[in-house]
Each structure stands twice: as C-alpha cells, then as structure tokens.
C-alpha cells in the first residue's frame, strides 16, 4: 500500500473536526458509570449538564468545548506501507491548518515568546506528530487528539529517588490531584508516567491520560497502582468541577518504562472530561473513521 499525501491531508482535516465534535464511546460510557455512583446533589447536576452538552453538540453539530486544544497526531504505520515521511508530515500539518481555516476552528496556538497567533493551529513544533510502527499488514492508523489547555496546565514531573519508593510516587499523584482541584475540569483521566528519563516519563503520562477508558496498563505492577489510585482519587471529595462529590476522575491510568538505578521519576498529565480523540484506519480497502 502506498500513502497518498493528499489523502492523508484530507483525513487529518476531517479528524480534527470529528475530534472536537464527537466524544468517544468509552468516555460516554464513563459518564454513565459516574452518574450511577454519584450521590452528591451538585455533582449529579453537573454530570447531567455535561451529558446534556454531549447531546447538544451532536444535535447542533457543534464543538463539545470551545478549546480546540493543541493538536496532536499519533501515526502508527504497519508492514508493507510505502510512504515519503517528509511529505507525510507536511500533509498532516496542511490538514490541521485547513480544519482551522475552513471549518473554521479557533486557533489556540501561539508562539511561546511573542504570543503571536498564526490563526492556523500550527506553529514551531505544532501540530505535535508522533510516528510509530506496528505489525499490522498494510494498515496505517492516525489518532488525533485536541489536547485542552485547562487540563494540560495540570502537568508535573518529579525526579524522585529510589529511597523515596513507590509510596512517594502514589503520594505525588494524590497531592497533585488535590492541588489542581476544579481547575482541570473534573471528572478527569489522571495520566501517570512512572520511570524512564524525564522526557519519556512526561510522555508516558500523556499517553496514559489519552488512553481509552477501560484499557489496562500492560505492565502488571503499573496495573496494580492504577487500580489502587483510581479508587483513591474518588474518595477525596473533589467532585465534578471541584464543587464536591465522588466523581473526581473516570480513572487513573499508569504507563511504565524502565529507569536508571539512581532514578524514580513520576509525571502527571491530566485529561479533562471532554476527553476527545478521533481515529482513522487506512487500509487498501479504504478509510474507516472511529
């Protein structure tokens, strides 16, 4: 299979627009689950408004949230796929720009020093593009994540040391969730990275925060910690929007990587309740949006 940059551009444009309008099914189911367990009156009312908003967005074909985020494209390329990498990256960027101009979407991206907004959702290093490879025959998957800033501002890295142990890792997560309160638009998905180098650790936290609900950390030790922390954060009483209740988070997700003998890094990255993602799978048979 050979990738056509023009087609990739079209797909990347469509993905941005789909992502900001349609909430993934696992997140909708997550809301149902939270509503079932929420007992606080304010918490229940807020969850009700969020669910109503999802329906209004679908009915009016509008954006779920005004924050169009920082665009992230994750590309996974399978076996026997022929492509020009430079053209692929350019096509992704073009798709992102076109979604912004043609829909139009608010460009939420500025130069970090001049604060200049090019009104394209693009800038140096943005859209963020991650390329990975897997075993699937003649398959390319593109995932688009418009990462909202209210929750992205809830990002932390701590280079703990081995003597601090796992205990300090858990305490760090709980304390950051407490510190952030309602600012990160709870109910959230709390992404936790454990191990790696500093940059990998933060990247793991982002991958964890943007992973579908009901998926489990592939590392069994990481899976134990995510189950434990998922229970614990919902006993804090922060609740939807930080106004009290049980539903602080849909889940805590953990991702793990090996680290150095002298290191014990932990990172936290939060995803808000508008946990938006859109995917497209390209095969010789065509394009399927998910």
């Amino acid at each position: 299979m050979e990738l056509d940059p023009h087609e990739i551009g079209e797909v990347c444009k469509t993905l941005y627009i789909r992502a900001v309008k349609l909430l993934p099914r696992d997140v909708k189911e997550g809301f149902t689950e939270l509503q079932r367990r929420e007992t606080d009156a304010t918490g229940r009312a807020i969850l009700g408004t969020m669910v109503e908003n999802i329906a209004v967005a679908e009915r009016t074909r509008n954006l779920l949230c005004q924050d169009t985020g920082i665009p992230i494209y994750n590309i996974t390329i399978g076996k026997n796929v022929v492509f020009d990498g430079v053209a692929l990256k350019a096509a992704i960027r073009r798709g992102c720009e076109r979604a912004t101009r043609e829909h139009p979407l608010r460009s939420s991206v500025v130069h970090p020093i001049t604060r200049q907004n090019e009104q394209t959702s693009c800038g140096p290093g943005v859209p963020i593009i991650h390329v990975d490879f897997d075993e699937r025959e003649e398959t390319v998957e593109i995932e688009m994540i418009p990462k909202g800033s209210g929750s992205e501002n809830g990002s932390f890295l701590q280079m703990l040391i081995p003597a601090d142990g796992v205990k300090a890792v858990k305490r760090f997560v709980i304390d950051k969730v407490i510190e952030l309160g309602g600012r990160v638009c709870p109910p959230t998905i709390v992404g936790v990275g454990i191990g790696g180098t500093s940059d990998l650790c933060v990247h793991l936290a982002k991958r964890a925060a943007t992973r579908p609900l009901r998926t489990v950390c592939p590392d069994p030790e990481g899976a134990k910690i995510e189950a434990e922390l998922s229970e614990a954060v919902n006993e804090l009483g922060i609740g939807p929007q930080g106004l009290g209740g049980r539903s602080t988070s849909f889940a805590v997700h953990v991702e793990v990587a090996a680290t150095h003998i002298t290191m014990n890094p932990v990172a936290v990255n939060i995803q808000c309740h508008s946990a938006r993602r859109a995917t497209a799978r390209i095969t010789p048979g065509g394009i399927a949006f998910g």
Partner: protein
C-alpha cells in the same frame, strides 16, 4: 438557596444579595475576557472603549466566523462555539477589573482565590461557576456578538455578547466571604491522610 434572574448591568446591592450556593440566570449582556485581554489592559496600559460598569465578564475565547456586518451580526462575527476557560490564571486581575472597570460578576470554571474573595468583599461582587467543557450548550444561550474591542488579540479579544437565559449558574464565591471552592478544599484536605493511609502512602 435562592434563584436570581439578573438583567445586566447591576448595582452593588444586587451583587451583595448573591450568596454562595444560590443559582443565577443572566439576561441581556455579557462580556468575554481572558488572559491576553487582561494582560494588555492591566500590564501594558491599554484601555477599552467598552463600558464594563456593573457588568459580568466570562473567562472565554470563542470560536467565531468572520461575516459581513448585519443586524444579526453587528460586530461582523458570528458565534460558532463559546465556552469557558479556567479562571485561576486570571486571579491577579480581579481587583483591577472591579476597581477600574466597575465589573460586578465574574463567570468561570474551577473557582478563584483569596485575592478575588477579598475584592468581592470590599467592592461587592460574585463569582458564578459555569460547567466547563459544556460549550455546545453554553452557545445556545448566546444570541449574538454585539461588539468587539482589542481585536488584534483575537481570539482573546474583548467581546460583548447578547445573551438570553444564560444559566443556571452557581454562585461559587460571594461578597460575604463564602466560597464553595474553599469549603470543598477544606473537606478534601481533611480526607487526604486517610486516603494516603489506605494505599500505603501515609506519612
């Protein structure tokens, strides 16, 4: 708990009548403001020609479409999606917004801090909590973008919206020292030790 319908602009007495836990529906006019708008207005000495006295400001930067000026779109902008951003980043501007511009109400998400509470107590104002991330719904409460100023900061311009039935919003902070956010934070702090103990992370 009382429900209030407020036709903006309002005076000090109406602002002080709001108590944390009450609900509010806003009518008529609402101003959109956020990080860059406030930085330019208060750190870089820029002034707006729009009159904010007695008004409500919402922490937002909308998605808009540029259109020809018409009776329906007097500002030349049509609203697409208008939602609310995290308020805490704008904490240091509350005092100035109230004192210099005469703002009475701030609408946002996630709550604000001590300095804002103090400004409310001193001058008579309130923070109205909206459900963040519920922008599609919020947009249905906005009739038009009536005016825009400081538009070189787009989308962080100063916007004037015409609204209808904007709410219900929850009074999160009032002019009597009441803050639902502070109450929840205190409650959460009291639970922290037991939660950490349970996961083997006690101090």
């Amino acid at each position: 708990m009382t429900h209030h319908t407020l036709h903006l602009p309002i005076g000090e007495k109406e602002a002080r009548a709001l108590k944390a836990g009450d609900t509010v529906t806003l009518e008529r006019t609402l101003f959109g403001i956020r990080d860059a708008t406030l930085i330019h207005m208060f750190d870089r000495g820029r002034r707006t020609r729009l009159d904010l006295k007695g008004h409500a400001v919402i922490h937002t930067a909308p998605n808009v479409r540029k259109v020809d000026v018409s009776p329906e779109c007097p500002s030349g902008y049509e609203p697409i999606c208008i939602g609310t951003t995290t308020s805490m980043r704008m904490e240091r501007f509350t005092q100035g917004l109230m004192q210099r511009e005469g703002v009475r109400l701030i609408i946002g998400k996630g709550g604000m801090g001590e300095r804002t509470l103090e400004a409310f107590r001193e001058m008579g104002g309130a923070y109205l909590a909206i459900v963040g991330g519920a922008a599609a719904l919020e947009t249905t409460w906005i009739e038009a973008i009536e005016d825009v100023d400081l538009d070189d900061l787009n989308p962080e311009s100063l916007w004037r919206f015409r609204i209808k039935g904007f709410g219900p919003l929850l009074v999160g902070m009032d002019s009597h020292g009441g803050s639902l956010f502070a109450t929840v934070a205190k409650d959460v702090a009291a639970r922290r030790a037991a939660v950490l103990e349970k996961i083997g992370a006690g101090e």
